[in-house]
Subunit: 380 residues, 2 copies
């Protein structure tokens, strides 16, 4: 068993799973911000991991509105054996992303939905426990779609060997396809803000939104974010250098946007849709660009229409929906820009590492009530 696995198991057995850690600086790069927050996670289920048991979250019902405890079930199954070409992996960190709510539904979506009775899908960073695949050996760190479970078996060819120079949690965060590539592609390839233009991002304190805003700052744009709390607003303006923040819960969004963007909006990186989108549409300049990355405002509610769609015509806007998995060709370019941005202190980020696979339902719901602080993941 590798040192990393030992570490992981020790954590698992020590009872520390009921705590979370918000990391604001990488372990292997210069720290720019030292704040940290600890918060209890209201998990009620406890399991002890043994080498013979694999805990798996199984989707039992399609959520109606918020995800409820009865929508998924945590079951124990034997750890599977592997065949030639396969690898047995133990999940270290599971990425918790807004798209989980999409995958749980059977609405039309960009990947197959998770079927009832299946293991809940999730991207993860894992350590190789056993390998019958030539390119991977016990102890290697890999990323893949490991699912919400302790162990998984995968064809070796479907796994990516992680970059050993970067800490594993950061590889689900700023350097990941889901966070880094999404922010990079939407900001630099779709919005492509020019110096002096105004760039608005919704869900701005999220892992993707905060990086998008910082990438737009690096391009010379005036950056405005929308958030749901004063704490998030302060982080963006005082630590990340955003030019302005709108608290959609307390501000008059229309008036505040006019005040912060007196010359109109040129780019909008949209994580939410909903009322913020509708207001931004009204204040767009001609030839504006919208990178549509997420619809978190709409996931847990009945689908309602988007008003002011006509402004796409009136202001000659381009709206492009995109999914990071289509843009892997830009991964190398992203890594170069993001590594440099972090090293130069121009990109800061937070990791919100919750503990314990059993806390999954509580943790995933943090995304939709806005209580996470930075890139959310579970340390298994």
């Amino acid at each position: 068993m590798s040192a990393l696995m030992m570490h992981s198991f020790k954590l698992g057995l020590s009872g520390s799973r009921q705590h979370s850690t918000v990391r604001t600086a990488p372990r292997c790069l210069p720290a720019r911000s030292r704040g940290s927050v600890r918060r209890s996670c209201r998990s009620t289920t406890r399991h002890v991991v043994t080498m013979s048991a694999n805990r798996q979250w199984i989707l039992r019902n399609r959520p109606d509105g918020d995800i409820k405890k009865t929508d998924l079930e945590l079951v124990e199954t034997p750890i599977p054996a592997i065949e030639d070409g396969q690898v047995l992996c133990k999940n270290m960190y599971i990425s918790i992303d807004p798209t989980h709510r999409i995958w749980m539904s059977d609405a039309p979506q960009y990947m197959p939905c998770v079927e009832l009775g299946e293991i809940m899908r999730a991207v993860s960073i894992a350590v190789v426990e056993d390998s019958k695949f030539d390119g991977l050996a016990k102890g290697d760190i890999v990323s893949g779609i490991g699912g919400c479970q302790d162990y998984f078996v995968a064809d070796g060819a479907t796994l990516n060997k992680a970059d050993p120079s970067l800490p594993p949690p950061e590889q689900l965060g700023p350097y990941s396809m889901i966070i880094g590539l999404t922010a990079f592609y939407g900001t630099t390839k779709i919005c492509a803000p020019k110096a002096g233009e105004t760039f608005v991002v919704s869900g701005a304190a999220g892992a993707v939104g905060s990086m998008a805003g910082q990438l737009a700052k690096m391009a010379g744009a005036r950056v405005i974010g929308t958030v749901g709390s004063q704490e998030k607003a302060d982080w963006l303006t005082k630590e990340l250098g955003f030019d302005g923040v709108i608290n959609y819960k307390t501000d008059d969004v229309a008036a505040k946007l006019k005040e912060l963007a007196p010359d109109g909006v040129d780019c909008y990186f949209d994580n939410t849709a909903g009322p913020v989108l509708e207001e931004v549409l009204l204040q767009f300049n001609n030839n504006g660009r919208i990178a549509l990355c997420g619809l978190i405002n709409q996931y847990n509610t009945d689908k309602i229409g988007v008003k002011n769609y006509d402004m796409i015509l009136m202001r000659r806007l381009t709206v492009q929906g995109f999914i990071c998995i289509d843009q892997l060709a830009s991964m190398g370019e992203m890594l170069e820009v993001v590594k440099k941005g972090i090293a130069d202190g121009k990109i800061k980020y937070k990791l919100d590492i919750q503990k314990g696979l059993e806390s999954y339902i509580d943790v995933v719901n943090m995304l939709y009530n806005g209580s996470n602080q930075g890139k959310l993941m579970i340390e298994v």
Copy 2:
């Protein structure tokens, strides 16, 4: 006075203004279709044109829903004198376009709205009556924003000298910025259909829609149009070579679209928004393109939200709103393609020429009740 002007005045005085003509083939190019329809125009106001009077349609109220007789007033004013650099023009044909309804409202839009008390804006083909501008002489045919009136004065530099090889009405139709360039830019530059892809166009029997569909056919796409009558459907499939037509008034749009586009939709040229857009969004393939050209479904109603906006993300769609006046750089390329298309019989079109400036309100409303047949204009 030029021969053309004499002709125009004779029409004006002969009482022929109460008739309309649908032209289905150009005068100076090989005719492909010889059908013609005459229809009475229900104008109730009659005026006799004299050289000393200029009839002008003045916007009095912003329409609430349909355009009513009381929303505009036809007044007579003296014909203005011109100063150095100016040109006096007599309108020959006034282009009647869906955007008139936008211009009458004070909603945010792509040009300034027409203010109350101002002459209603319109693009026109006119003949020069008097010139104090070096580049234009009496008798020249020009295009510009002549307004809904008999005469207008313009700075010579703002007028385009018309191509003398093309008949004037066609220069408001297939060869125009409003029709030809809109169809060309949206189809070939935004949708860019590849051979074998499926291209859907709404408002398909309209001047822009029918040309967009034919340009997509020339690119090798499978073309499906939505229309509001069997007569329009027949024209598209039997004369224009469309692969299928959906009558949104009588068909189940979702079922018919599935039947006609079993492999999904790749491109959508949207003239209407509304329920057709919402259905097409659900049946898009990944990486589809929407050229948003018009919103005729929404002009005369309260703005309602567009449902299924989330499919822009799920199917990685690009929606681009565009206005022809921004795309003049493509005018030469469009003319080349469209002239050849018409000469080769691959592009057919109809002109719906209504007679008499006084019929403006009846004529413009034809656009919104779908009763026009081809590019609508008024022969002044």
